[in-house]
């Protein structure tokens, strides 16, 4: 290979190499495990002691408690979505979370959240709280509007009877 070619290869290798080095060191410094509440429970909280961790779960209904003295201090509990849906709440896969800061608008009961932080003394201290930008409008369920799959018999009756059915009057 000509010396010119070698120079270019070296130059390109330097660029590629430094980018690769930058990436690998940054990954080892900033990466964090991303688990669901259930996975966290099965691995055990101790296996993640001291490490920054990212956990996904849904807010357990009624668990949001705000410090009356400091609105920005909030405690809540998260669990896996299917656990919640099945109406069973095994104590094991609940995770207590403590967060200080403004909560996003979609931070509500049953809402999906992702928290980043560390586990200290059985409680997850979150420094970041993220919610999903839903393309499904979940909250409508509470307001009484039904999803097509979940039509109750009551609703069915209503939809059928768009016009009031007048029974033929028979007069004897």
């Amino acid at each position: 290979m000509s010396p010119k070619k070698i120079k270019f290869m070296v130059g390109a290798a330097l660029i590629v190499g430094s980018i690769g080095y930058l990436i690998s060191t940054s990954i080892s410094k900033t990466s964090m495990y991303f688990v669901t509440v259930g996975e966290l429970a099965s691995r055990g909280m101790d296996s993640f002691q001291g490490e920054v961790l990212k956990v996904k779960g849904n807010v357990v209904k009624g668990s949001i408690v705000r410090n009356p003295k400091d609105f920005l201090d909030v405690a809540f509990v998260i669990a896996d979505k299917d656990v919640l849906g099945g109406k069973t709440e095994t104590k094991k896969s609940n995770l207590k979370v403590q967060y200080k800061g403004i909560t996003p608008d979609m931070f509500i009961d049953d809402g999906e959240v992702v928290v980043e932080g560390v586990i200290k003394g059985g409680v997850f201290h979150a420094n970041t709280l993220l919610t999903s930008c839903p393309s499904k409008y979940e909250a409508e369920r509470e307001a009484g509007k039904s999803h097509p799959d979940g039509l109750s018999t009551y609703d069915l009756k209503d939809s059928y009877q768009k016009k009031p059915i007048s029974a033929p009057k028979t007069t004897i």
Binding site: V16, F34, F71, I102, E116, C133, A139, P148
Partner: protein
Amino acid sequence: MNQIGEFSLFLALATAVYGLVCYAMAVKGNRIDLYLSADKTPLIVWGCVVISSAILLRAFLINDFSLEYVWAYSNKELDIFYKISSFWGGQKGSLLFWTLILTSYTAVVYFQNRKKNLEVFPYALAVLLAITTFFLFLLNFSTNPFEVLPLPPEDGRGLNPLLQNYWMVIHPPTLYLGYVGFTIPFAFAVGALLTKNLDDGWIRLTRKWTLVSWFFLCMGNLFGAQWAYIELGWGGYWAWDPVENAAFMPLLVATAYLHSVMIQEKKDMMKVWNMSLILLTFVMTIFGTFITRSGLIQSVHTFDEATLGYYFLGFLFVIIAASSALIISRLPLLKSKNELDSFLSRESSFLFNNLVLLGIAFATFWGTIFPIVSEAFRGVKVTVGPPFYNQVNVPIGMTLLFLMGIGPVIAWRKATWSNLKKNFAKPLIAGLVGALLLVGFVPLNSKAEVFAYITFVLCIFVLSTIFGEFYKGTVARRELRKETVAEALGSLVWKNKRRYGGYTVHIGVVLIFAGIAGSSAYSTNVEQHLRIGESLKIKDYTLRYVKLTAVEATNVKTRIIAELEVIKNGRHLWTARPEKEFYKGQNQPVSEVDLYSTWVEDLYVILADFREDESATIKVYVNPMVSWLWRGGLVIAFGTVIAMWPDRQERRRRLERLKKQAAVFAPAQE
């Protein structure tokens, strides 16, 4: 009516498949009759898709909730603009929207090229038809926008209030116009490979397409950032979310492509590189839409549908495999006549520019797919967040900024010491002077602040090289033609639209770099709970909480508005009115931040919470130089329009060139 829409999609699919088969057979058997038959199919497909789209739009506008998709994203009370934008608000409609744009672009390509008798044209059309077939297949068999609900409900579910702002109307369409646009150069590249027509003809043909698509993709990214900043209200504009990255990576690769094709045009080099880059750009656009739709990567944006993900994955695989095989088989024909002469030359700085851009793209890609890779290899998801992206992309970005000052100015082939001195002495001095001046003004207490400082110095350096170019050109014209400064500058730019349009775009990019540096390193915020009459202080602003009002905006929307008086240097500056909007039937409000934006900094006020006693939690950010991003975006838009503007001389030259090209499929009757 809806059944017509559904059938129309099916007809489109059938026609596209027919057209593909015809093209394939026409090529194989050299049959002109089949070619003529296939020739009109792109237009028929386009017509069918337009009809389907119109019918879906109509369903939205007349509140036809028998369609599941209309029910899911609209309701009776929705404003008409949002009814229209709901068209692309969900999975199915956005796929139809993509297909609409793709077929419309194909129709334009058809009309642009049908009289030119180009050998590559039918091949390009066939490729476009093939890609369209994929999307039509999805629309017919996987995600059908005309899916019907068994019992039509009275009213729809409505559009998420978070999406009810004008950004929803412009951000997705702009991005899609960009994404889909890169299909065209890709199709012509494949056509060139297939016909072995591997000079720069296909590049010249698709240059405007590349520029236009790049323009929309860039603006789409900026709109997304602005939307996040103004509507989502967390104080920032970019979170390195997988879907943000999905829109960013094609932009980076496309920028690399945009630059390296210049080298092929001027020096006939880097042919294999360019082929690979346009393939990569197209792959990244599909990958981007794949990430958004498959839920494979956790994001705040994802739609759902896991099966769709598999289809896209398969499609990606086929494209990459087929195109790579094609490139490899044509490798001998793609050998360049020239090669790089020197480390210090424009060619090599363009090459470095490409490597750096691809480096950022790769780092972003790696960070985005890392959770999946780590789960595959280690059984547990490991993610990286903004700290990773910032640590990696900031240094690489600064290198890119530096290169932006070198590339346009450095000599071709081999820069000698004397022309290095001539071109770079003044900008380097300007940079040094700037560095010295800034040291006094800019705090240097942390790594981030040091990086910001270096970025500012680099910005000064790059701006001086660009202004130097404008200056030198204007002076040269004045010497020759005795024009005024304005005339000389005007005709300089007008006679060299590509070059000076490009320089203008660079100015815009510099502004954006500066804005990012300033807002990342020097942002501060304060959050405090206030009772009426109390104040909070941030930097040299005092915000005094005046009152809380409730306004019934519509019969479903109530606005709670906090009023704060903003005082700076003892004088009233502004009245901030951050609010929370409550929608009936929804138990979660939408925050509307209030913003006071100047060249220096943004004062960004959020109403986080309020109580019955009218006390409120207020969070205030001071974000320096954020407006530089948006204004830089305007400069980029302006520069791109100049670069894209049709040039009569160039057009004449091109027509002459095309007339000389051989026509294989010249129709018997003209």
